[in-house]
Symmetry: C2
Subunit: 584 residues, 2 copies
């Protein structure tokens, strides 16, 4: 077999795809948006070698593994020449045939290239693949659908790992109206779950993240966030089925009791409660999950509150924090930097006449805010429940904002058709959509990276984090824009850093910027909740209390459950013994 290539050329016939979501509104919007986004082939070289190999896996072992995989799932569901299969998929059904690479590579695309993609259709097929992987030493990286584009897409942390793509396992196994839950396979997308509930006249709401094409199970496993009262996806979940790295099948919580009817009602079961070690994890493959669904609250009204000045962020966050911890604010709302809204509507070049790459100054940002009739910060929230309940809550919220001069409030009736409030109105009601894809087109050949530290829901913490990230973004030549998701007691501070994916120089700058941010944030006691493959080891390294005691615990668990180092080596900084300390 040919040796693995050391690099793949980025570039090619790159076409810019602005306004991804809005230009494909209407029927089939999500497929169209996806197609538009991948129009430039994301820099895959035409003449890439047939496959790359993981360290210490010989071509013979890999081919033997692939043969067994084909026997297990059928040759049609095993893809080895991934650059070719990417082209196939572009001609096919984009929503149901995810591509197997990083959409927004920050290093060379080749760095996190998979060797193969395998698409089982059942738990038994997953088990067979896992057993074959153990036999031949072939690492596997699981994706539920693979649409986690902001954090590496489908790409594995370790080059040459084979992707185990669970999109074909897309059964909605149960919807329980009375106890308000769904039991799902990992391939079910938010769109599919929502459409099923609509079609069947269910009274239950979904909670979805900004982009609705991803996996419900996958998002929860990655501890993603949504925006309704059920916004903490890991919390509002009950019961896992997991294929362990040795191929054994376990059910957690009440699921371990045969023929039970409480697996999705009570997460804990009896004895140690395992679910958490299978989140952001390479210790097992989740093949079923129960998700709690919110009964229709009997009324709903989204709103926007804007504050005019940059320095209003502190007082605003203190108000929101106190309303949230008292559960006056019922859900997980967001506070958005005005440039994020601006970027959803037009590109930087369209706003300013050119895209030099240099970050905008405060005057330019304020000019855009005036033009949009938005403040510097926008608080997108919602009220849930019958009218009298909503009115009482609104009085408490809007009353609290009276202490910020110039604060304005808007309901959907108050804003024009272009307002982001309309798309947030969907998301805050758990209606999946793709409209947030648009801000990625802020820049020519736009790609993005999330820098996502956690903070307390206080003005002091939010302001300090924004200052740090903005300073670094400007230092490295990027615009600062962010969205702060308000959890019960924490902010997910999602900094959305947009760059030109066709420019190696920009990618290098972005990488340097984020490495510096990780270090400086850690020095202030702030850690990230999730990150791209490129930064996993670095972020994991900041969680180093007591000489890395938690990393040692992770190593112990990894070695015990996955002695052959099969599952997702390096995910979230956890390496199996075979690769540990090798700087891969």
């Amino acid at each position: 077999m040919a040796p693995a290539p050391t690099a793949t050329t980025l570039g090619g016939e790159g076409t810019t795809s602005h306004r991804l979501a809005t230009t494909v509104a209407g029927n089939g919007a999500h497929e169209g948006a996806f197609k538009a986004m991948v129009g430039n082939k994301a820099g895959v070289a035409k003449n890439a070698a047939r496959y790359v190999l993981a360290p210490d896996v010989t071509a013979e072992a890999f081919e033997a593994f692939i043969d067994e995989a084909k026997q297990a799932v059928g040759a049609d569901n095993v893809h080895v020449n991934l650059s070719a299969s990417i082209e196939d998929h572009e001609r096919g059904d984009y929503l149901h045939q995810p591509r197997f690479h990083d959409f927004f590579p920050i290093d060379e695309l080749d760095k996190y290239m998979a060797s193969a993609a395998i698409q089982p259709a059942s738990v038994e097929e997953v088990q067979a693949i896992v057993r074959a992987a153990n036999k031949h030493g072939q690492p596997l990286h699981t994706v539920s659908i693979g649409r986690n584009l902001g954090y590496g897409g489908s790409s594995p942390r370790l080059r040459g790992t084979a992707i185990l793509d669970l999109k074909r396992m897309n059964k909605i196994l149960e919807i329980n109206e009375k106890s308000a839950y769904a039991l799902l396979e990992p391939g079910v997308s938010y769109f599919e779950l929502y459409e099923h509930l609509q079609k069947t006249g269910s009274n239950l709401w979904v909670d979805c993240p900004d982009i609705g094409w991803g996996s419900v199970v996958g998002n929860a496993c990655d501890r993603g966030a949504g925006y309704t009262p059920y916004g903490d996806h890991w919390m509002f979940r009950s019961g896992l089925e997991v294929v362990l790295p040795n191929g054994e099948l376990v059910r957690t919580g009440m699921g371990a009791l045969p023929d039970n009817d409480t697996w999705q009602c009570f997460p804990y079961g009896f004895g140690p409660y395992h679910d958490g070690i299978f989140s952001q994890s390479n210790l097992g493959i989740v093949t079923k999950m129960g998700i709690w669904l919110m009964p229709n609250p009997g009324g709903y009204e989204p709103f926007l509150i804007t504050v005019p000045r940059k320095e209003d962020l502190g007082p605003m966050m203190d108000i929101i924090g106190q309303l949230r911890v008292r559960m006056v604010i019922q859900n997980a709302p967001t506070v958005r930097h005005v440039l994020l809204d601006a970027a959803c509507l037009k590109s930087k070049a369209q706003w300013t006449g050119s895209d030099t790459g240099a970050p905008l100054g405060e005057e330019e940002i304020e000019k855009i805010a005036r033009e949009l009739n938005l403040g510097y910060w926008g608080f997108y929230g919602a009220l849930y429940g019958p009218e009298p309940v909503r009115q009482g809550i609104w009085q408490a919220i809007w009353g609290s904002f009276q202490q910020i001069s110039g604060a304005k409030s808007f309901f959907e009736k108050d804003v024009g058709p272009e307002s982001i409030l309309h798309s947030r109105a969907k998301t805050l009601a758990g209606i999946p959509n793709l409209l947030e894809l648009d801000w990625i087109s802020w820049r020519e050949n736009g790609a993005h990276n999330f820098f996502s530290p956690i903070s307390a829901v206080t003005g002091e913490a939010a302001v300090a984090q924004v200052q740090l990230v903005e300073e670094k973004a400007r230092k490295y030549g990027f615009d600062f824009m962010n969205t702060l998701i308000v959890g019960l007691r924490e902010l997910h501070n999602i900094n959305c850093l947009v760059y030109n994916r066709e420019s190696k120089e920009e990618r290098d700058r972005m990488r340097a910027c984020i490495h510096e941010l990780i270090d400086e944030a850690a020095a202030k006691g702030w850690g990230e909740y999730r990150t791209h493959n490129e930064f996993m080891d670095h972020v994991a390294g900041t969680y180093n209390f007591n000489n890395g005691a938690l990393a040692k615990l992770n190593d112990t668990l990894k070695d015990a459950l996955d002695p052959n180092g099969i599952l997702a080596p390096g995910k979230c900084g956890v390496w199996p013994k075979r690769y540990r300390g090798r700087n891969l």
Copy 2:
């Protein structure tokens, strides 16, 4: 050294202690109640041998361990002659010096007798004890305070295990008013936390279980329940510090990032989320925990709704389930069998003129209900928030109950001073108390065992579970009484089975009854969420999907983290390799 005794005589100068809580109302009520309860020495023999030994631990190894323990924590904090130390404690401060045995033994007291009790005052001392235990092969059983009386008290699962009692580690390390949490050591009781918050004028509420003398950390680790909106103690928690079985200290979640300020704000951190494996677990010793506290909701009103007929349970549960899953019911309320209320007020002999041991018939139960002006079932709930909010919620709740003929509602002003509504009013507001101790005195020399299966919050499931447990209780000669705690989507069905602890014949019957219940419940798909030492292996054995795959996972984790089998062998059915399969 003397060999371990094979049995200890139960009995002695047993005095009956009725009305434990109510007779000691006023200052120091909890200490008094505890003293009254232990008045008969719970059957500890006067002439017990000095200590018992764990299997495979020689007297030499044990004594060497004890010597090192004394060096680590001081000789005053190491107790070897436990029957003597029990007597010491009876003369001392009962709340702060817990006893080290099972209050309500169902087998002989000796069966779960500890060899020693060690009381460290710091994390470093805990680590020193754990290292000494590894060196000498001495098993350790951690108790935070040891007041988990319904499930075995302080007693270890494996006879001869030494108790690691953390009561001296009782610092309230932080109260954060803004983010609404406490950081606690394990020795802090609900009473202490509540009193601290009162004393400092805090705006934060505690959520406490029925009995307020236990450990906040310990109750959460055992996945106990309370009754405010924060009733799921494991859910409303963020951040652990854990001494692992090898003596290493880890902090989970954001705690692994040095000098962070989000450890108690965001539980998950980065990478695998470990906390769950340290609950109901023998994989680590929790030395710090963050607990979320509820800000004063701005108004509060407890209520009682009674329904007259036994068969009203089904419709009642369906109503409650739908109100709860819609979060109209804001908290974790309870539905109680009338005998539980009756038993809190008077003993069986006082109610019926005699205590033959035979269970009451339906006519006698209904007579008691009439006398108390209660229904057959009482739904004790509460409304939280300002008056208009409470009124809206009450209209929705009471409106739903109109479909049950004869349903009656009561607020505190509507009931006499003896009503259980007054003690529930405290508990539902997180005010720790001991009033629920009283129902244990239903029988002469009352002791109790909880049989606690989980069900869905549906009428069908609740009625079916009650039928099964009631049938078995009567078959074995016990009165049936229970309390159903309503979680978000599950009922904790706590069946409170009271027996005479001085009667070996009754204890044998109770044991047989519960073993039969475990089997028959499992056959119907119901599992227990917690159990007494005596039933741990049996309950764990019912969680046997796929040939006990979850038990094998527990074994793998146990062997990896605790290769010497030091921590709490057998807890929740998880045994270390050294004792596995030995029927201990």
